[in-house]
């Protein structure tokens, strides 16, 4: 009994309060999203999403308790085992899974079902952290980097097999952990540049201008810097590479991306071109949020989210309900909650005494951050529609439990941070 008291005292209550605030706000908004004044149903009714979400929240409470009770050494010791088990599960999903909404990512046992890909996030973060925390690990070793990329790539590949591109993309965020742990930022910069060039190519109708722009920047660099042969050659080959990327964008858009993915990119660039076709989701989502005004229409008074204009209103597009019913103030508040949580996670990560715990903390940060950016970005038309949930807010058991596990393992590790040091 005494020991348990000690554990709860050591848990980071600031994070827990943020967590509870988000889950509660999410639950109320899920109720609002499915609320229909003609058939008023209580928020606790199990036949509507809000009632089921309450069950999921209760189950999340049990998960939190288990995580806190389990010996802290378990997470590091069994990191690889859990990773391996989840990879096997992911591998099996295409065979035993059933298709929900075009993605075959769902497995069910009786009437209980879940998406292993949601749970795989924490296992991957844990396995990466264990590898980074292992004795003799050096970030500048190419071999170590290869192992880390393999750890990230494996679940991505398996989830892509389930045609769930959105969830697979989430794993790329884990590269942030490597960045924090000292990997050269070169890769990150290249990645961001590639994304910028990609989007520029879509925005600028004539690619000739882009090539000319690249040429101009090249000449500028050569003129301003030292005129060494090696440096000039490097710059020229870099510029050529960028030109190739520009040329390949068309190919990627038309041949690699599937039609629905192409449409999502097109909708991002110019949603007004076809407001009833591929621009539908983004247009409707923006109308719903935009109609909220400064202070919103009030709880349960939204009209857009209820008439089925906004698709997936209680899962991926839950932010629409917030924007419509609570306006700009409500949206800022929710974004504020996320900023507070993300900064708090980073703060917790930084105060860890072991590399393992710190890396894991950054893994949690990276995943939550990615979801936050992409999900809200897509509802307000800044990113293409990628179907991933808003952490702690969106309806769904797997998603809520996945994030709960992710966060509370960090809090558990954090509550033992002084003991960890003793062990070392």
């Amino acid at each position: 009994m005494k020991r348990e008291e000690k554990i709860s005292a050591n848990l980071d209550w600031a994070t827990i309060l943020l967590y509870l605030a988000m889950v509660l706000a999410g639950w109320l908004n899920i109720y609002a999203a499915v609320y229909d004044e003609s058939t008023v149903q209580s928020i606790f009714t199990f036949s509507v999403n809000s009632g089921r979400q309450l069950l999921f929240i209760a189950a999340a409470g049990l998960i939190v308790m288990s995580i806190v009770i389990i010996d802290v050494r378990f997470y590091e010791t069994f990191a690889y085992v859990m990773y391996a088990l989840l990879m096997i599960l992911l591998l099996l999903v295409p065979f035993i899974g059933k298709e929900v909404g075009g993605n075959k990512a769902w497995i069910g046992i009786g009437s209980f079902g879940g998406q292993p890909s949601e749970i795989a996030k924490f296992a991957t973060a844990l396995a990466m952290a264990k590898f980074i925390g292992s004795v003799g690990f050096r970030m500048d070793s190419l071999r170590n980097q290869a192992v880390l990329f393999a750890l990230i790539g494996l679940p991505m590949g398996l989830i892509l097999l389930q045609k769930d591109t959105g969830t697979a993309l989430v794993f790329t965020s884990l590269v942030l952990v490597l960045f924090r742990e000292g990997m050269s930022p070169f890769l990150l910069i290249v990645g961001i540049c590639a994304a910028i060039i990609f989007i520029l190519t879509l925005l600028v109708p004539n690619q000739l201008y882009l090539h000319l722009g690249v040429g101009a920047v090249l000449i500028l660099f050569i003129a301003l810097g030292k005129k060494k042969i090696k440096r000039i050659m490097l710059l020229i080959s870099g510029a050529l590479l960028i030109s190739v990327v520009i040329e390949s964008v068309d190919y990627v858009i038309t041949d690699v991306l599937k039609p629905h993915q192409q449409n999502r990119v097109k909708a991002l660039i110019n949603p007004d071109a076809d407001p009833l076709g591929y621009g539908w989701n983004v247009t409707q989502s923006k109308i719903a949020i935009g109609s909220g005004g400064f202070s919103g229409k009030g709880f349960l008074n939204g009209t857009q989210t209820k008439f089925d204009f906004v698709p997936e209103q209680s899962t991926d597009f839950i932010f629409c309900t917030i924007g419509e019913e609570h306006g700009w103030i409500g949206s800022v508040l929710v974004i504020g909650l996320f900023v507070a949580l993300l900064l708090r996670i980073m703060f917790i990560a930084e105060r860890q005494k072991t590399r393992f715990a710190r890396s894991y903390g950054y893994g949690v940060f990276a995943i939550v951050f990615f979801h936050f950016v992409i999900n809200i970005g897509m509802t307000i038309g800044l990113f293409p529609v990628i179907g991933i949930p808003l952490p702690f807010f969106s309806y769904g058991g797997s998603s809520l439990w996945g994030f709960t596990i992710l966060l509370f393992i960090l809090l558990k590790l954090d509550s033992h941070r002084s003991q960890m040091l003793q062990r070392l």
């Binding site: 109609s291 009209t303 949206s331």
Partner: protein, 605 residues
């Protein structure tokens, strides 16, 4: 460095949040457009269903057309409290049924109180007329008209197929996203095969609704609306009179009649017995009638012309003869003694040449021919020798269109079976086999299986002296249109056309003085045919088979007839085939006694 990285990440988080907050400020506070759009936004999408294409016969007679059907729909949100006793009175349902209908409707997955939902399916014209005047007493209820199918005649059911609501599994498989739940889709037959051509293009109308759901006019002056495009009409090669006659002849019998125009591959008649009236599978009665028809033990939904796989019997001897001629193992003059010690025979003949052997359907002759074909003595090992011979034989037999689906324009066509060396390896569990194990295929018995459409196509191939067009029902998509491209290609067999001339001679002899002379011979038309009597399990009678084409020169029609459990091919099948030829070429039979014989159906007395 690592401390700095932490700061970079913190700045990134805050920056992203700021971008979001600013963007949100723009769309929520600075820009009032969205609020206005939200007021009028409620864009609702209404579908205009196009007319489904009509189906005609070869002379332009209408076979399938559209009739209006009326669905009673309701928007539950707009429903006012109504007098349920009055409602039950108007719609002639009991209170229990009314409650049941609401329960069923609300249980549906796509149900939403703000959306129009189907309350009752497919009201008939009379029902529609009755309830129409009273609809205004029940706000929220309205009639939605769409079209169903009707058939001018009760024939051709299996070839036409039917139209019904798309099934859940088909909806899940539909990658095009064209269909919604409750949509009609062609099932089986022409309706299924030509679904894409028949269905047309749907029109869409976008209507503006306010936040209360009241329609406020069209969206953007109808700029995004599209008109429905009617489906394309299909012109089939079917001769409706011939088809009807065929169904009459096959009444009370199990089997099939297939007639093809050899020069084009167009199917003139496709009769499956027993069949059903296609009008039974339309409208509200669809559900109960479908259950009845599909559970019928006589299997009226089983489309025999392309799904029944039969042993071909003696008609296969023609294929054997041409294969052997092509391989050079016999000549037309080759004579074989009718030695009945290995394989039995019938009729009085003893030492026939090829034409005589076909005319009298001599079993020992073709036993001998197949032996020459399979055991050419390429090696001394009889096992290997048979294997080599059979491979060669397969090549020719496959080229007649046997052993694989022909690819006609109907779903569910079966392939039949032409045994290959690999097939016998499996059948004999990899133990050795040689000619003496497999010789029954010589006379079309044994492992051979063909479907009636392949038999008719075979007759057409002989009529053409060596090639065929894949049989097809639809000869033009749209008025003055073309058939699908795959039906405009000639398929040549591996047999020289000179060898076909010998087969033509022999088939003429069958009808003039051989097994077919009593019931297949016509007065003014030279018919070429071949009988087949396929062994059946006693006490059942043998199956009666006949293939034919006529006239001998410049043939206009090729026929295959298969009548189950009806005894000799020279009786039921030969009679029916010759009647079909007469009907098509002359317009009526000149031999009423043969017609009566078939209609009486006592072939085995």
């Amino acid at each position: 460095m690592s401390e700095l990285r932490k700061e970079i990440l913190q700045v990134v988080v805050v920056l992203v949040a700021l971008v979001f907050i600013i963007k949100l400020f723009f769309i929520q506070v600075a820009d009032s457009r969205y609020a206005e759009m939200a007021d009028s936004n409620a864009i609702s999408k209404e579908t205009d269903y196009p007319f489904r294409g009509l189906i005609y016969d070869r002379h332009g007679k209408l076979i399938v057309y559209n009739t209006p059907e009326f669905d009673l729909k309701v928007v539950v949100k707009d429903m006012a409290a109504f007098d349920s006793a009055r409602f039950c009175d108007v719609f002639r349902i009991s209170r229990e049924e009314l409650r049941q209908k609401f329960r069923v409707m609300k249980a549906r997955k796509e149900y939403a109180p703000v959306k129009p939902t189907v309350f009752d399916h497919q009201l008939s014209n009379e029902e529609f007329a009755r309830v129409q005047d009273h609809l205004d007493e029940f706000p929220g209820f309205f009639i939605h008209a769409r079209t169903g199918r009707s058939y001018t005649t009760p024939v051709l059911a299996n070839a036409l197929g039917y139209v019904s609501e798309i099934t859940k599994t088909a909806l899940e498989k539909d990658a095009s996203g064209f269909y919604k739940q409750g949509d009609y889709v062609g099932q089986s037959g022409i309706e299924g095969f030509y679904e894409e051509q028949l269905r047309g293009k749907r029109g869409v109308r976008y209507k503006l609704r306010n936040a209360k759901g009241v329609i406020k006019g069209s969206f953007n002056q109808g700029r995004y609306d599209t008109l429905p495009v009617p489906g394309q009409n299909l012109y089939t090669g079917i001769d409706l009179d011939l088809q009807t006659y065929g169904e009459q002849l096959l009444k009370g019998k199990a089997g099939s009649i297939v007639c093809i125009e050899p020069a084009t591959g167009e199917i003139l008649a496709l009769v499956s017995g027993p069949s059903y009236d296609p009008n039974l599978l339309t409208g509200r009665r669809y559900g109960s009638n479908f259950a009845l028809i599909s559970s019928d033990t006589l299997k009226p939904l089983f489309n025999r012309p392309l799904m029944a796989q039969y042993r071909p019997g003696s008609i296969f001897k023609i294929a054997q003869a041409m294969t052997a001629l092509q391989e050079g193992v016999i000549t037309p003059e080759t004579r074989v003694r009718c030695d009945r010690s290995i394989i039995n025979c019938h009729g009085g003949h003893s030492n026939e040449d090829l034409r005589g052997a076909i005319a009298n359907s001599c079993n020992p002759y073709f036993h001998n021919v197949l032996r020459r074909m399979l055991n050419k003595g390429i090696t001394n090992d009889p096992f290997t020798d048979t294997r080599l011979g059979l491979t060669e034989w397969n090549k020719h037999v496959y080229s007649f269109g046997f052993g694989k689906p022909l690819g006609i324009d109907l779903p569910n066509e079966k392939s039949g079976l032409i045994p290959t060396p690999e097939y016998y390896d499996r059948a004999y569990n990899n133990r050795a086999w040689k000619f003496s194990n497999i010789y029954s295929i010589a006379i079309g018995e044994g492992e051979n299986l063909v479907v009636p459409i392949q038999m008719a196509n075979f007759a057409a191939t002989i009529a053409n002296r060596g090639y065929y067009y894949t049989p097809h029902l639809v000869k033009a998509i749209g008025e003055n249109g073309q058939p699908l491209p795959q039906y405009q290609v000639r398929h040549y067999t591996t047999i020289d056309s000179a060898n076909f001339l010998i087969a033509v001679d022999a088939m003429q002899a069958v009808v003039e003085r051989g097994t077919g002379q009593y019931r297949a011979r016509l007065k003014d038309i030279i018919v070429c045919g071949k009988t087949g009597t396929v062994e059946n399990e006693p006490p059942l009678f043998d199956h009666s088979v006949f293939i034919a084409f006529a006239p001998r020169d410049n043939p206009k029609i090729a026929v295959s007839v298969y009548v189950e459990d009806a005894g000799q091919g020279a009786r039921a099948a030969a009679s029916i085939a010759s009647l079909m030829i007469e009907k098509y070429l002359i317009g009526q039979t000149q031999r009423p006694h043969i017609e009566q014989y078939v209609l009486n159906g006592k072939f085995t007395d």
